[in-house]
Symmetry: C2
Subunit: 149 residues, 2 copies
Amino acid sequence: MNNNPLQNQNDLSIVDGLVQLSFLVQEILGRVGAEHGLSIIQLRLLGILRDREPSMLQLAKHLNLDKSSITGLVDRAERRGLVERNVSPNDRRGYNVSVTSAGRELIQIGSEEVERQLSAAVEGLSETERSQLAALAAKILGSSVSSNE
Amino acid sequence: MNNNPLQNQNDLSIVDGLVQLSFLVQEILGRVGAEHGLSIIQLRLLGILRDREPSMLQLAKHLNLDKSSITGLVDRAERRGLVERNVSPNDRRGYNVSVTSAGRELIQIGSEEVERQLSAAVEGLSETERSQLAALAAKILGSSVSSNE
DNA sequence: ACAATATAGTTTGTAAAACAAACTAAGTCA
DNA sequence: TGACTTAGTTTGTTTTACAAACTATATTGT
């Protein structure tokens, strides 16, 4: 992924940097998840349910998946006792999905672990650089309003 | 994924920033891949083969997958005419996997598209900020020598 | 040289993840 | 009420991933 003749390997283009960085982060997420038997998508599911009780359809939008994929995803998480389907009070067709206390515990432990491992990954940066990076990330994320609300 | 009482939503922690940024990048990679019928893992496979002809086992290490997963991955790419297995000259058990011209074309088009879309994602940053970001990414990637050589 | 061992890759069996199309049940609207 | 829409599931397929068992070839020690 380095095609730009103006840059050598040790001086990554911003595109290459972002791509490789994303793989590094995803690798950490995958590893932490795996320690608790969770895939990245299950991790994301729990992460979303931390502060929301979305319908299946809303989950599909959040995760950018087809609604038919959500059925299985929630099924498996429910089977493991991590989430629950609650019949929607207004619409008997729909469910609101919520995290159980077991699920909440798991995501708590998991995100602490992610926190540790990601902090370790950026420990080579100075405090200034870290907050610079956080600000830059926020700026990018803010402008590319992925709107998965 | 925001648990730190010292930060509000618009002022992401570095951990949250990195995680969300990684999902943004992966989403772009997934979308671009999908436009050409490629999954992220197939994209990575072609990306690796751009400047290498690794054995199946080396591919497994690069991609951090079990060797048995590589068989199917390469099978499917080979079926689509994107890569080839070449019997290793020194070891008749082994193969060196190489990208075909069709595969090379596809990865070329794909990475140009990734380039475009990622550039668009960072267009809110100034030139200075972009090179800062590239430098920070490189620094993180450099210290966490993932060693998948 | 050759038996024991190691290595490269595939096969087999299983499960998760994802999609699309068809379907069911419940809501809405004219 | 009948037509239509919406929420979610089912069905069937494909890809991805793993682990254990297996095959074929290399390597090593004696």
